[in-house]
Amino acid sequence: MIPYVIKADKLTKQFGDFVATNQISFEVSKGEIFGFLGANGAGKTTAMRMLCGLLTPTSGAATVAGFDVYKQTEQIKRNIGYMSQKFSLYEDLTVLENIRFYGGIYGLPARELKAESESLLEKLGLQEQSKKLVGSLPLGWKQKLSFSVAILHRPQVVFLDEPTGGVDPVVRRQFWDLIYDAAENGITIFVTTHYMDEAEYCNRVSIMVDGCIEALDTPGGLKTQFKAATMDEVFYQLARGAKRQAD
């Protein structure tokens, strides 16, 4: 039994003189929706890359899904899902081809993949569009589809990097319904966003400023702590003090 799905202990990454993330420590438990906020250039992307096994930390320790970020990056990659606003599916493949491709990458057996893709299409209401090119779908559908593909192999953790940027308000909420569904099925959600109302949807939220985690609590706890009415105010109070100007 692993107590925490993600555990970071004084995780640090330095590029030359520049400390991108400075001794960040936190734990995320199974099925938790963890909001990872911070201004542009605060070090969110660097932290996320280290946890995904794409960057080797300079110092500190971290485990993701029970695997070490220094030595077991291959195992980590097999047990996580990743989705970003920029990462899209292949626009020139059909919906079904995309699902099969990503399922194939994670080595899902053919029969299981077939059943999975059918239930996925049904859940998203995309049966009619399954033979359409992904490029012809509206952005909201694409984002919902790529999230579903990212959790197709039932990862323990899924990392979402600004998944809802630019999508319409209704689809944005439908997207969060998907996130809640996944969390209830025991998938841990690690999400960044610029929408402060979405910070409220998270179980716990951390706010990074200049490479350090300056606050970490439930949205309610943070609002009490900073005597603020909304998460927007909490964020503003913290991030306003940021010194760092370069990415």
């Binding site: 911070g38 201004a39 509206p138 630019g166 999508v167 909420r173 610029h194 964020f235 306003r240 990415d247």
Partner: protein, 306 residues
């Protein structure tokens, strides 16, 4: 007199003539801060590109500063400032070199219109020898705005200037726009962030190439047709599920820590009934009160009727 005027503007793309802008009409008054608000793919960039003479419309017509966007494109190009959506400046040139380049391109100098950009430029001046590629998102935004303003345009078009920028930088950016407005520049700005709507004088909500409504944010909110309630309990996910299944629910959407709820039959006992129902379903810590809608509520409501 209207500075920007659109009449039934249309644009479609590709062989299949997929419509991107359908019969769009609105006008922007002189000195107004006008917001075009809608999600990605709604047609905001296409409208901006037609108004800045970069795209030819497939139907309808429009004028900018009194000039026709097709016939008088040269005159318009002399009078507008434009910041494209993906605009990222020359990464390998320094802040000062970028600004100087655009100033010269528009037949002016930094000194000549320094007053206009002073407020913004002083914030990036300490980094003037740094290459644009090494600036943070917020800084880049400021530099891009300086570049678009350097020739003192009559009309400023800003296509999604705050997309992907954090909440603090976004706030600062809007404060800069307010100050520019005071200098008499007409500003058209597009954004996918609904919360920015209230910062504009007037807004157009746009979805799938169609205008949902054009008005002041206050009036749009006032036009919301139903009483709106904010409701929450200790288990918010279950609350949403239960309310969606509830017979008297017209709509229910998550808004931060609350759910926003409208009733099919908004009678006096509606609130009491729903509270009873939810208590019966085992919810604790229930809180329900009537609230003023936000622009986002209006957008969702208009989307559904459209």
């Amino acid at each position: 007199m209207a500075t920007v005027e659109l009449h039934g503007l249309m644009k479609h793309y590709g062989k299949d003539k997929i419509p991107a802008v359908k019969d769009v009409s609105f006008s922007v008054k002189e000195g107004e801060l006008f917001g075009l608000i809608g999600p990605d793919g709604a047609g905001k960039s296409s409208i901006f590109r037609m108004l800045t003479t970069l795209l030819l419309p497939d139907g309808g017509n429009a004028t900018v500063a009194g000039y026709d966007i097709v016939k008088d494109y040269k005159a318009i190009r002399n009078r507008v400032g434009y910041m494209p959506g993906k605009f990222s400046l020359y990464q390998d040139l320094s802040v000062e070199e970028n600004l100087n380049f655009f100033a010269t391109l528009f037949n002016t100098t930094i000194q000549q219109n320094y007053e206009l950009i002073k407020d913004i430029y002083v914030q990036i001046e300490p980094f003037k020898n740094r290459r644009a590629g090494k600036l943070s998102g917020g800084m880049k935004q400021k530099l891009a705005l300086c570049c678009a303003l350097i020739h003192k345009p009559e009309v400023l078009f800003l296509d999604e200037p705050t997309t992907g920028v954090d909440a603090v930088s976004r706030k600062e950016f809007w404060e800069m726009l307010k100050r520019l407005k005071q200098q008499g520049i007409t500003i058209l700005v597009s954004t996918p962030y609904m919360d920015e709507a209230t910062l504009c004088d007037r807004i157009a909500l746009i979805q799938n190439g169609e205008i949902l409504t054009v008005d002041t944010p206050e009036q749009i909110v006032r036009n919301y047709p139903f009483p709106l309630y904010a409701i929450r309990s200790e288990r918010i996910t279950h609350l949403l599920r239960h309310l969606k299944a509830y017979e008297n629910t017209r709509s229910c959407f998550a808004f931060g820590e609350y759910l926003h709820l409208t009733f099919k039959q908004p009678h006096e006992k509606a609130v009491a009934s729903v509270t009873d129902y939810l208590t019966h379903e085992g919810h604790t810590g229930l809180e329900c009160r009537q609230i003023n809608p936000t622009v986002e509520d209006c957008f969702i409501q208009l989307m559904k009727t459209a």
